[in-house]
């Protein structure tokens, strides 16, 4: 479904509804990990790259299909906009296509850095007030209007809180909690230490909790 546009600068939310779809009685660690490509997949990527460089440009679609979802989630998490995320993804894959002969090592890590830089460039240049935003078309899977409204409120509040974070903290939080990456994979992709990234994620959590706890605790 498509949600109405809203003014990011006016993220105020009305009262919470009592019914939540989460089962609060079970304590389950939230961690999930984005799978790291195996050696076979890396070889398969290289085979596709070789095909594209030999002139089969349609083969590039295999790489888009293989890696666009985590990249889209990253761009969406960083920008809070489905439209901008699509735009960044398109520009990044086109850049990747034109520079494909420069790939050394993992294609997924290389293209991730292109997308991540695209997000940072966008953040540098955007005027951050009164940003229009449209929800993605993903089905929620929820059942009642109250649950849909609750979800919409948390979505908007989380977007508003994320937009207040410095870029490096937002990036670390999104990679950890939205993309579900391990600290080790984040360190590899961002060329930073595990300790530094843990610190960024922890600082991001503390800032987000400060912003959200009055409303949701």
């Amino acid at each position: 479904m498509r949600w109405p546009r809203f003014d990011r600068g006016a993220c105020g939310v009305s009262a919470l509804f009592a019914t939540w779809w989460l089962d609060y009685t079970s304590v389950v660690p939230l961690k999930t990990t984005e799978p790291t490509p195996t050696g076979d997949l890396l070889d398969a990527d290289q085979a596709v790259i070789d095909r594209v460089l030999a002139g089969d440009r349609n083969a590039f679609g295999i790489l888009i299909e293989r890696y666009s979802d985590p990249l889209y989630r990253h761009a969406y998490g960083m920008t809070g906009s489905a439209d901008v995320a699509e735009d960044i993804l398109q520009v990044s894959f086109i850049k990747a296509f034109h520079h494909l002969s420069e790939v050394r090592g993992r294609f997924d890590a290389w293209v991730f850095r292109i997308v991540a830089n695209g997000c940072k460039d966008w953040l540098k240049n955007i005027r951050r007030t009164h940003l229009s935003y449209e929800e993605d078309d993903q089905p929620s899977g929820l059942e009642t209007p109250e649950q849909e409204l609750d979800r919409g409120e948390m979505r908007r509040d989380l977007d508003g809180a994320l937009s207040s974070l410095p870029g490096s903290l937002r990036e670390a939080f999104v990679m950890k909690h939205v993309e579900g990456r391990s600290y080790e994979e984040m360190a590899e992709l961002l060329d930073a230490t595990v300790g530094a990234l843990k610190m960024r994620v922890h600082r991001a959590r503390e800032a987000l909790q400060k912003l959200l706890e009055d409303r949701y605790s």
């Binding site: 961690k31 398109q90 490096s168 503390e206």
Partner: protein, 99 residues
């Protein structure tokens, strides 16, 4: 709309893949800063959120924080299941074909 970086420090970098301004450098220009003296989160909650083993007793002592992070986790979990809109791949390939 994508825009090229205006940061002059980016000129000497690989424009495609080199990190912009370093991951630990100053915040991205244009970010609205929040006071980073955020809420204090018990270490057990950080460990829980990192997927480490945490005792039930430690989590019970931080029930308020745990419940907040479960709500946040429900939203981040939904985003983790997002997929690229179907038309994006076709648009990319169409643009490449036009080149």
């Amino acid at each position: 709309m994508m825009q090229d970086s205006l940061d002059p420090r980016d000129a000497a970098r690989d424009p495609l893949t080199e990190p912009r301004s370093g991951p630990s450098a100053e915040p991205v220009a244009g970010d609205r800063e929040v006071p980073l003296a955020g809420a204090e989160i018990p270490s057990a909650v950080h460990a829980y959120l990192d997927g480490d083993a945490v005792s039930d007793a430690a989590l019970s002592a931080a029930q308020r924080e745990v419940e907040l992070w479960k709500r946040i986790g429900a939203e981040t979990g939904r985003r983790r299941r997002m997929v690229t809109p179907a038309h994006v791949q076709a648009q990319i390939l169409a643009k490449l074909a036009d080149d």
